[in-house]
Symmetry: C2
Subunit: 125 residues, 2 copies
């Protein structure tokens, strides 16, 4: 997704398009959505998240959380105990994203069957 170096053509959105895709790549990422969903109701520890999110690997969860932290959507709080413990929670910015994601989730819930049916129909021929 390293966006194009396309010479700047005229359209006014050439560059907002890039910025847009940039943010969207983070925000629309599968694990990102899952993590934000998981943190919706409050802080969670790393392992709790991993157990909650079926199928995420240790590595991917780490990377996803790093990305979210970098983007200011998630706050990381390490405790100096032993064994170590780290809590993750949504920042206000992270919370502000929830309605949009929930609407998306609702759409999937409502139309998932239709999509799956369309796929079957399409594949049948």
């Amino acid at each position: 997704m390293p966006a194009a170096k396309t010479a700047a053509p005229s359209p006014p959105d050439a560059d907002s398009c890039k910025a847009f895709g940039n943010i969207l790549d983070r925000v629309g990422d599968k694990w990102t959505v899952m993590v934000i969903g998981g943190l919706a109701d409050g802080p969670m520890r790393f392992n709790a998240l991993q157990r909650l999110i079926t199928g995420v690997s240790h590595r991917m969860l780490t990377l996803t959380l790093r990305g979210l932290e970098r983007d200011g959507l998630v706050k990381r709080t390490p405790f100096a105990t032993v064994p170590p413990r780290v809590d993750y929670e949504l920042t206000p910015l992270g919370h502000s994203l929830r309605p949009a994601l929930e609407q998306l989730a609702a759409w999937v819930g409502t139309h998932r069957a239709a999509v799956e049916e369309a796929r079957r129909a399409f594949d049948r021929q």
Copy 2:
């Protein structure tokens, strides 16, 4: 986030989680979002779309449109003219997805600066 509601580790979401991620992978994909945005106001031809969506390659646009067609979100209409012409347009199902995507787009518009600032702050240390 299968159940996105409660952090309660309810067991039975292993598989809805997968289905969910499945649809989300299509729907949250960068080019998919762009294409739906491009088709929001009516049918468009292949090349028009490619010109509109900065940075998409011929191949990726083809694949994205195929995927959307398969999922029943986009309707493909070939004309038997020469040179050939193909129109793409959103189906009702495709249109039903717009509000959700527009809300996401609105979020990006509103918070893009904040995210970029967060990134700079994070990278600075």
